[in-house]
């Protein structure tokens, strides 16, 4: 789907007298004699390479196939060798096509074993229109459903490859990237459905688990799943004592009209006229190291008349216009006799420590402020 086109689908087999050849290809004449000669050793292969997904790049093209070998006395030479493959431009990323090729080879193998679909000259001819339809539909919609005969149907779908998501921590806050109304509950598993109502961009994982009465790890996994599909993204817990600062991306609010629109619609208080860009931009720029959200509210009260500060922060984090500065305590000096620090090593933020120990920020602050051995880094 999209940018990566399948240029050609071919069916190759080992002919008893002619050797490896291309029996069918759509569109016709796509694979030149020269190209096939160069790559045939990877199409109709030695036994070691059979049943493996083989992608070979040559002469500006990529050929993806899975050579199949079915051994039986009834075949001339006691074996049937064939390969149904796809051809793309050499620069195409073809990872998504691999499962399709594998599945197709499986289908054809089954058909041959059940009804001799391929070895029978008459039924083999049906391959050509099948390949045509495949090519057309996979390129158009990325999916294809084809009945082959009364009992067999091919179902194929191109699955987009995504990056592995980050690990979700208990103190992370999931927030929907699109409007929640577009979300079709029934498409998702039961756990996800159960926690859906609690995903509001302010509750963190631990809180969701407690309020929805779902085990912590299940919540974590469900959110990770949503993260994988880009349905949610993670931000940090909101508190008025939080400190943020701008990133270079904040300028996109000035450059990009669509982001302006989206932002102003998102952050304006319900029932108010739309906030002014200048006010919103000033608010974001007012977030600096050392300034808490509380400070911002008192300094920029005029600008905040039409703006919901919580949604302002939320939007800023989602779009990476701002970033959170976290506090990390480090125990720099201690006597020989005391234990080495477990949490105060510079690796664990206040968010994490408070979540794990159940302390509030204030409590942690009080505890650490009076300890001369502990310094705090913000980053």
């Amino acid at each position: 789907m999209g940018t990566d086109r399948i240029e050609c689908i071919f069916f190759s087999e080992f002919h008893p007298t002619l050797g490896p050849k291309i029996t069918y290809q759509v569109p016709e004449e796509y694979i030149s004699r020269e190209l096939f000669d160069t790559v045939q050793v990877y199409i109709i292969t030695k036994p070691e390479l059979q049943n493996k997904l083989i992608t070979v790049t040559a002469m500006g093209k990529k050929l993806i196939g899975c050579p199949v070998c079915i051994e039986h006395k009834k075949y001339s030479r006691n074996a049937l060798l064939f390969n149904l493959g796809l051809v793309c431009d050499a620069r195409t990323k073809t990872c998504a096509l691999e499962p399709i090729v594998k599945k197709l080879s499986g289908y054809l193998t089954t058909l041959e074993l059940e009804s001799g679909f391929i070895s029978n000259e008459e039924s083999k001819q049906k391959l050509l229109p099948i390949m045509s339809t495949l090519l057309e539909e996979l390129n158009a919609t990325g999916a294809c459903t084809l009945p082959i005969d009364e009992s067999n149907t091919i179902n194929l779908k191109l699955i987009e490859q995504r990056r592995d998501p980050l690990i979700v921590q208990e103190y992370d806050v999931p927030v929907f990237t699109q409007c929640k109304d577009h979300f079709i509950k029934s498409q998702w598993d039961l756990t996800t459905q159960q926690i859906l109502a609690y995903i509001d961009g302010f509750r963190h994982i631990q809180k969701i688990s407690a309020e929805a009465d779902v085990e912590l790890n299940l919540v974590r996994i469900a959110v990770q799943n949503l993260l994988y599909y880009g349905v949610v993204t993670l931000v940090s817990i909101f508190q008025y004592s939080n400190v943020y600062c701008t990133t270079p991306t904040v300028q996109s609010l000035i450059d990009d009209r669509s982001i302006q629109e989206e932002c102003l619609n998102y952050v304006t208080k319900k029932g108010q006229k739309r906030a002014f860009l200048r006010d919103v931009f000033q608010l974001y720029c007012g977030l600096t190291p050392g300034t808490t959200v509380r400070d911002l509210c008192s300094r920029y009260s005029q600008q905040l008349q039409r703006v919901d500060e919580r949604r302002l922060i939320q939007y800023g984090l989602i779009k990476a216009l701002i970033r959170r500065l976290q506090k990390y305590p480090v125990k720099v000096t201690r006597d020989e006799r005391s234990r080495p620090p477990r949490l105060y090593t510079g690796c664990h933020s206040y968010d994490e420590i408070c979540c794990k120990t159940g302390m509030s920020y204030k409590e942690l602050d009080e505890r650490l402020e009076n300890d001369p051995n502990i310094i705090v880094c913000w980053k």
Partner: protein, 548 residues
């Protein structure tokens, strides 16, 4: 040479295959196949070359290495002559082979999901080794000799008793230089990402895998991003070496360019590239090229030259752990100081001048600067710059959104062209602001072109500049008290095109030959229509992120 690569950026193995009149042969592979230690008749390296691999018995190997016997590798990797001279890529299940067949076959195997730029880098290395081998083959049949040696060893091992399970390749290694070179290439790629070989002790092949050298928070930096950043370097940037001068010079090959040596000897964190050009007696373009080269190889980074007014803050990617190797290194370099305490000081943005006047005078000033340089080299600090944006308070009728179009070029009267060095005419060096007074301005700075005072010409110029604004914007600006001063208004109008949030203070200073205090005063006078923020420079933030 085929490199087999994993999901990340390291190859799984390197393989050398030849195809000739006597058929296809796998000459060498590294790492050697693991000797299977299970009882069934498995692939031991002892096999006769005529035995076939029975895949059913082979141990599950996530790398897919032991699935491919020497024989099958020789067959599949010995491509036809039409494929020679071009990149070769073959993927079998989740293993990818990349190489550059020449008259000689050099496949690399990489795991399937490797980034395409990693693949093309591997291919590049393949090609370079192939070219070197080709050259040596023509000159003195180097490859034929090495190949004979390898085959002889393989035969010898095959003829030895069954009790010796040694891989023939293990025997080849001490006797055959080419094998050792390939092993070294593999090892280097897996660790540092920097490869330096001397084929036949004569031809040098050097190569670096930028993916290993440049990483941002765990992900590698794609070469295109690196290249984009390198293109955006300005003459007012500085080059910060990541090694000591001595160490760096020792790493250079004997026949390296004298320009490179001069540059390394002359460069300093307080000198911008333009000054460096003068001091090293090179033109700016050369400096840019050499600087880019050093950065690409991970030997230097681009920073803004160190000066009192530079403001630094802890990098979000900085490792501030008490037990990190960085903390240890810092303690060794600067005894009686610990890294976390130093880093804590930069939790709030701190200028160098503030840092240099700590309440405790126990630390020498010079040492403090050294500490900052140390921290910059290890990408623990980022530098913050001031960016300015013009945003006029909206009237009730105006929706308050900005116009779609950019300020038209008519507003950009005067000032230096902001393009890459080749288009620049180089004026006198503008040193970091606190050190000297601003030098005589550039020829095309409008401050020089226009006579001072409130001449009709000046007024016209100002009007033209302000013409790109909407009526409302113009009105608001003209109503500002400071706008009553024609000088101030003219300066404001002239700098208008910088007020889109993409040019930081130092850049404006450099281009317009103005002092920091001048600019700050101007910003203050017009603060009702300007919004100011501080953040890192996106252009060089790539170089401020940590390695590995």
């Amino acid at each position: 040479i085929f490199f087999k690569c994993g999901e990340k950026t390291s190859p799984i193995s390197v393989i050398l295959v030849t195809s000739g009149s006597r058929g296809n042969k796998l000459l060498f592979r590294y790492p050697f196949q693991r000797v299977a230690d299970c009882t069934s008749s498995l692939t031991t390296k002892q096999r006769s070359p005529y035995a076939l691999n029975t895949t059913g018995d082979v141990l599950e190997d996530p790398d897919g290495d032991s699935r491919f016997s020497d024989i099958i590798l020789a067959t599949i990797l010995a491509t036809k002559s039409d494929m020679c001279g071009k990149k070769f890529e073959l993927k079998i299940d989740n293993v990818r082979f990349v190489g550059h067949p020449t008259l000689l076959q050099h496949p690399h195997t990489i795991q399937a999901n490797a980034d395409p730029s990693v693949i093309s880098c591997m291919h590049n290395l393949s090609r370079r080794i192939a070219i070197a081998l080709q050259h040596e083959e023509r000159r003195c049949q180097y490859l034929t000799r090495e190949a004979k040696l390898m085959l002889a060893m393989q035969d010898e091992v095959t003829n030895m008793t069954e009790s010796d399970p040694q891989s023939p390749f293990r025997q080849i290694l001490p006797k055959c230089k080419l094998a050792r070179d390939l092993k070294e290439a593999y090892d280097s790629l897996c660790t540092t990402g920097v490869v330096r070989l001397h084929i036949n002790n004569w031809l040098e092949v050097s190569f670096c895998l930028p993916h290993k050298i440049h990483r941002v928070g765990g992900n590698h930096v794609p070469p295109e991003a690196l290249e984009r950043s390198l293109k955006a370097i300005r003459p007012y940037h500085a080059l910060l070496l990541l090694d000591s001068e001595k160490a760096l010079l020792a790493q250079l090959p004997l026949d390296c360019s004298p320009a490179l040596v001069r540059l390394i000897k002359t460069c300093s964190a307080v000198k911008n590239l333009q000054q460096l050009a003068q001091d090293a007696d090179l033109n700016l373009l050369q400096i840019f090229q050499i600087a880019a080269h050093l950065v690409y190889w991970g030997k230097a980074i681009i920073v803004y030259p160190l000066c009192e007014n530079n403001v630094y803050m802890l990098s979000p990617h900085a490792n501030i752990s008490l037990y990190s190797p960085l903390a240890e290194g810092f303690g060794q370099q600067f005894p009686s100081h610990d890294l976390p305490s130093m880093l804590a000081k930069f939790s709030l943005p701190l200028s160098l001048s503030e840092f240099r006047n700590p309440l405790d005078a126990s630390v020498q000033e010079a040492q403090l600067i050294q500490m900052v340089v140390w921290m910059l080299q290890r990408r623990l600090l980022i530098q913050l710059h001031t960016y300015v944006c013009l945003l006029v308070p909206p009237s009730e009728e105006e929706p308050g959104l900005l116009r779609d179009e950019e300020l038209p070029l008519v507003a950009r009267v005067g000032g230096r062209s902001l393009s890459t060095p080749s288009a620049l005419s180089f004026g006198s060096p503008t040193s970091s602001d606190d050190m000297t007074l601003t030098s005589p301005s550039m020829d095309n700075s409008s401050a020089e072109l226009l006579p001072g005072g409130d001449s009709p010409l000046n007024r016209r110029m100002t009007e033209t500049l302000l013409a790109s604004l909407t009526e409302h914007e113009r009105q608001v600006i003209l109503n500002i008290p400071a706008a009553q001063s024609p000088e101030d208004l003219r300066m404001f109008a002239r700098l208008l095109h910088y007020f889109r949030g993409h040019h930081h203070l130092e850049e404006i200073m450099y281009n317009e030959n103005m002092r920091r205090s001048q600019l700050k005063t101007l910003f203050d006078k017009f603060r009702s229509v300007l919004v100011v923020t501080n953040h890192e420079d996106p252009v060089i933030s790539l170089f401020q992120s940590p390695l590995g």
